[in-house]
């Protein structure tokens, strides 16, 4: 018993020494944040070049013309209306309304020619269009969400939000078919009314939907149409 104790003790001591036994100890350190603005490394440029040439060719294609600048904003915006309305057209009657989020629209589209690159800047993510069936309670939660956030890109419905009431269409419908992205459908941006609902894919990414629409049209003239009105200073 005693010898076991001794053995344990010696092992404990050795372990203790071992625990601070690393051969080298840090005695000091120094740090620096360096901005990257050097000359280019030519071997790296050589690797990039074929990729860049092909990509630029794709990206610089002019696919449409817009009469005015498309910006995002609240409660309603030209960019939001544009993206929602074309997505609903893409869904071809399979959805009643459409909702996206302002945070997901990443850039403006300047007036004039629209290139593929412009659309990539607006929608850099690989988000897909999906449809979810909402019941009236969930639909009301969606409307409240839009009212509380001061407005999000929405299409297919007009909403008048007063202090405590929301006036809108589809109130009597039992199931409202909502078009959105898989990102939001999975609860992104806190859209909790979508969580755990079945998602029907329509088989196209949001970015591709925008690009295809632009290719089909020569010129677009997007308007603010008062689809979203907040009263009582909301």
């Amino acid at each position: 018993m005693k010898s076991i104790f001794k053995l344990l003790l010696s092992q404990f001591l050795l372990l203790f020494l071992f625990s601070c036994s690393n051969e080298y100890q840090i005695v000091s350190n120094e740090y620096k944040v360096i901005e990257v603005k050097n000359e280019q490394d030519s071997t790296i440029i050589d690797i990039i070049l074929p990729y860049k040439t092909q990509l630029d060719k794709e990206m610089n294609q002019i696919i449409c013309y817009t009469k005015s600048e498309l910006k995002k904003g609240k409660p309603e915006s030209k960019l939001g209306n544009f993206v929602c309305d074309l997505s609903l057209l893409k869904a071809d009657g399979m959805a009643d309304i459409c909702i996206f989020n302002n945070g997901g629209l990443r850039n403006i589209i300047a007036s004039g020619n629209i290139t593929v690159r412009d659309i990539y800047k607006v929608m850099p993510f690989e988000n897909e269009l999906v449809i979810l069936d909402l019941n009236t309670k969930e639909y009301y939660d969606l409307l409240k969400y839009v009212a509380n956030s001061g407005g999000e890109p929405i299409g297919g419905v007009n909403i008048i939000a007063k202090k405590d009431t929301i006036i809108t269409a589809f109130n009597s419908k039992e199931i409202i078919r909502v078009l959105t992205t898989d990102y939001l459908a999975n609860g992104g941006d806190n859209m909790k009314f979508f969580i755990n609902k079945e998602q029907k894919k329509i088989g196209i990414k949001l970015r591709d939907a925008i690009i295809n629409y632009c290719i089909e049209k020569d010129t677009i003239d997007i308007k603010i149409d008062n689809r979203l009105i907040f009263e009582n200073g909301e």
Binding site: Y31, V33, Q40, S42, I44, Q54, E126
Partner: protein
């Protein structure tokens, strides 16, 4: 332990501590210098920013020449990345990350960890690009055993530089809610604190690393109780440096906090998009006394097996 305390004091001295060590001291075999270079959240920024606040900054060809310049001056460089290499420019949308991995390989990155956006083309999309990366991805708290990525990553790697042992392990963020399940499939997220304590102990005390680095994609700090680099540093025992990402935090200088043993932990993160490179130099001094102890440590292990 005394040296550890000196380190703690010297950290606050920063540059002063280093400038006192002249070249003649470096000639002394007992002093070693290790240079850690690090990036995070490069988000497919192959080319420099063309507009906005960061116009003219970044670019992988520019980063490569900066790194070569540093490699000419410094003998022992370790080049690391804390994840989110993918997503952010059409280069990713068109080529799926191939060019990012090729260029990082060309720059001789030593290791990277995985960020949530590295799952943006699914685990299949990540798997397809791995052949273009000559550097390992380290990830200690994702379990890929029921996925296509099974056995493709190690939790840690030990680097030997000029006699110094540097243990690096990777920690990823919880994917649920951040990445759609269709993309990460059966990848299992394990507790970062438990994983970090396990691997940092192993690196420091079993593999005798002189420096333990955690490459983390948890994010710098949150208002909520969500696990972050700051929480991780305080809830673990054997990490010397956390190189972070995810929150795109531009730290002017690293944050220094204390771990469960009340020892200093350095946390650093350098924004996003390849705008900056972080450079941290560590000066090590040899601890002569330890030679004997190390021998006996082997003895301990053998003894343990027989009991």
């Amino acid at each position: 332990m005394g040296n550890r305390r000196n380190f703690i004091k010297n950290v606050s001295l920063g540059t002063i501590g280093l400038s006192l060590i002249s070249d003649s001291v470096f000639a002394n075999e007992n002093i070693k210098k290790i240079t850690i270079l690090h990036t995070n959240d490069m988000h497919s920024h192959i080319e420099p920013f063309k507009s906005g606040k960061y116009k003219g900054l970044g670019g992988m060809a520019q980063r490569a020449s900066l790194i070569s310049e540093i490699r000419k001056k410094e003998k022992n460089v370790l080049l690391l990345d804390a994840g989110d290499i993918f997503q952010g420019t059409p280069y990713f949308n068109y080529y799926g990350g191939e060019l990012e991995f090729k260029l990082m390989s060309k720059m001789n990155y030593d290791a990277a960890t995985l960020g949530n956006h590295d799952f943006d083309n699914g685990i299949d999309g990540l798997e397809r690009q791995l052949k273009h990366a000559s550097f390992p991805f380290l990830i200690a708290n994702y379990d890929f055993k029921n996925t296509i990525l099974k056995n493709r990553f190690n939790p840690y790697k030990v680097f030997y530089k000029d006699g110094i042992r540097i243990g690096v392990f990777g920690i990823g963020i919880e994917l649920e809610g951040l990445v759609s399940k269709e993309l990460y499939k059966e990848t299992v997220y394990n507790d970062p604190i438990i994983s970090s304590n396990y691997y940092s102990y192993k690196l420091k005390h079993e593999l005798n690393c002189d420096l333990v680095i955690c490459l983390s994609h948890l994010g710098y700090e949150y208002k909520s109780k969500k696990i972050s680099d700051t929480v991780l540093a305080q809830q673990t025992r054997d990490i010397d440096l956390i190189i972070g990402g995810h929150t795109h935090t531009f730290l002017k200088k690293p944050k220094i906090t204390t771990n469960l043993r009340n020892e200093k932990v350095i946390i650093n993160q350098v924004g996003f998009g390849g705008i900056n490179i972080g450079k941290i130099d560590f000066i090590f001094k040899q601890n002569k006394r330890d030679f004997n102890v190390k021998k006996s440590s082997i003895f301990v292990k053998k003894k343990k097996k027989t009991t």
